[in-house]
């Protein structure tokens, strides 16, 4: 079935997304077990009123995005070496 076919690049991105997801979960739980988002929001350089849920969610998504970019760039560079 053509609809089921996945190219190598797509599979690489999905794999990077999945491993990044796992790592981001660990990073998020470690980070927010140590720091209470409400305290962070209070002492932030640019204080923005945000609820804990918002900070957790944004924190997770940021970790994930960073890890994803990191993996994809690494993969690309290793391939081009």
């Amino acid at each position: 079935m053509t609809e089921q076919e996945l190219s190598k690049t797509k599979l690489n991105i999905i794999t990077a997304a999945w491993i990044g997801f796992l790592s981001a979960s660990i990073a998020t739980s470690l980070f927010f077990a140590t720091f209470d988002p409400l305290t962070l929001v209070e002492i932030a350089t640019f204080p923005v009123p945000m609820t804990r849920t918002t900070v957790y969610s944004l924190g997770f998504l940021c970790f994930w995005a960073l890890l994803l970019v990191n993996t994809i760039v690494t993969l690309w560079m290793v391939k081009r070496r």
């Binding site: 089921q4 076919e5 599979l11």
Partner: protein
């Protein structure tokens, strides 16, 4: 550059671009019945039931299992975990990881075949697909036929079932992190907050993608465990294996009756390949795609029974037994690898339980006032203000008694959350189980009694007047430069 390097190498060393990823056609696993299929059904339905029912259980008038992220408290039945208890979570994850090692060493990839969420939800999706579209043959026929009313109806019903099931899965997932009854009524009244809605849809999409679309490709290409599980294998680990000495040479049809003498037991019906959810041929030997679901064992046993041969042409075995070694169950279970994993696992579980039981029933954090190190009272004393954050981890209302040691002639004023109980002792207000109470206290000291800018002293906090369990918290008293 590339061209030059190629020129200097001999022809047969020039790397050829090979795609390592075969184009994967959709796998239609054939339905199978038997011992292991029943076992897998029980495991799959049991685990799904646990997942969907758990958030609806109540305990002491609150959700029994709730990882309340907004309030930074995790409830697991009678136990409340705080961010300070993160250690327990970490330890539990280590225990979970080691259990995986332990069970892999004994029985191979039982996790993959019976308990992995990927398997469990894929199985649920396959059941729905089968329910709407029919057997494997019917599914393949349907996918090949041109679009008509029947195909449209079946495909629509399947997607409708899949999507609703995914959405309900996402909703349940979010229900572990915020009260599910509130979430349910919010959804019913179309008034869900942004993030809960986002995560519900996110998790629904992940479920649909993994169980409906990617399926065995997750195990083959994305799962780290599938790649490193071989490190936990040895010659005694249980694997699904085809008895090639008995099965080969494969003979089918008329040949079996005419040349029976030389033929092996394998009738080459290919059913073991058709039932495989990862689409491999187990007769080619152990492969990393094999998730040890044992569907091929059931399928082959059924066929062997029909053709009048002994069952077990494909069976659970180990490399050692396949090579003819006679190994008892005792030898399989009590070998060094299993014993070492078992010992570490047991010590960790014992440690975890001991730590949980001995966990203090309350905890104190001392926060100094942030804005100023010290101030002066009207009668010329130095004043430092502290917030004692009292965390009641017990299951009953508690009052805490605090005494201050290490400051001479200190005068204590309770600003909030308690009352003075003598010159150097305080009592907090009653704090409900699982709640935090703040006791704000000012300590006034005559400048003449302090000879340093910073004087260390201690708060001794106890949960009874008799001061039986006492937590000592150190803090500092600030005075102006002398």
């Amino acid at each position: 550059m590339d061209g030059e390097t190629k020129m200097t190498r001999p022809l047969d060393e020039i790397p050829v671009e090979v795609s390592l990823y075969q184009k994967s056609d959709k796998i239609y696993p054939r339905e199978v019945q038997g011992r292991f299929a029943s076992l897998r059904s029980i495991s799959v339905w049991g685990l799904l039931a646990v997942y969907y029912i758990t958030p609806w259980l109540t305990w002491n008038n609150r959700q029994a299992v709730l990882f309340d992220l907004p309030d930074r408290q995790f409830y697991v039945f009678g136990i409340t975990f705080w961010p300070q208890d993160f250690f327990f979570l970490a330890l539990m994850l280590v225990v979970a990881g080691l259990s995986l090692f332990f069970f892999t060493a004994i029985a191979g990839r039982v996790w993959c075949g019976y308990a992995c969420p990927q398997t469990v939800w894929t199985e649920a999706f396959i059941r729905m697909e089968r329910w709407v579209e029919g057997s494997r043959a019917k599914q393949i026929k349907l996918s090949k036929q041109a679009w008509n009313a029947e195909k449209l109806r079946k495909r629509f019903s399947k997607q409708f079932l899949w999507i609703s099931f995914s959405l309900f899965t996402g909703f349940t997932f979010v229900g572990y992190f915020q009260p599910i009854t509130v979430l349910a009524s919010d959804i019913a009244s179309f008034d869900v907050a942004g993030w809960p809605l986002f995560w519900t849809l996110f998790y629904a999409l992940a479920t649909y993608g993994n169980a409906g679309f990617l399926r065995e490709q997750v195990c083959k290409y994305m799962c780290p465990y599938a790649r490193f599980q071989s490190a936990m294998f040895d010659k005694d680990t249980l694997i699904v294996a085809y008895d090639s000495s008995r099965g080969e040479p494969r003979t089918r049809g008329k040949k079996r009756t005419t040349e029976l003498i030389d033929g092996g037991d394998c009738v080459d019906c290919g059913i073991c390949v058709q039932v495989c959810p990862t689409g491999i041929d187990i007769r080619e030997g152990l492969q990393y795609e094999c998730i040890a679901c044992a569907a091929c064992i059931d399928a082959c046993d059924t066929v062997m029974e029909k053709v009048g041969c002994d069952k077990g042409l494909i069976r659970y075995g180990s490399l050692a037994t396949e090579r003819g070694a006679n190994i008892s169950l005792y030898q399989t279970l009590f070998r060094p690898r299993v014993l070492i994993y078992g010992f570490i696992l047991l010590s960790l579980i014992t440690g975890l339980i001991t730590a949980l039981v001995l966990r203090p029933e309350f905890q104190t954090d001392i926060l100094r006032e942030r804005n100023s190190l010290y101030s002066f009272t009207q009668d010329g004393r130095i004043q430092n203000t502290y917030t004692l954050r009292l965390i009641n981890k017990s299951q009953r209302d508690s009052t805490y008694y605090i005494s201050i040691k290490g400051l001479t002639e200190a005068e204590i004023q309770v600003v909030k959350g308690g009352s003075a109980l003598g010159a150097k002792t305080l009592r907090s207000n009653a704090i409900a189980p699982g709640e935090i109470g703040d006791l704000v206290v000012s300590i006034n000291v005559l400048p003449s009694t302090l000879n340093k800018m910073v004087t260390p002293f201690t708060f001794e906090v106890s949960d009874s007047v008799e001061l039986t369990t006492t937590i000592v918290e150190e803090s500092k008293y600030w005075a102006p430069k002398q």
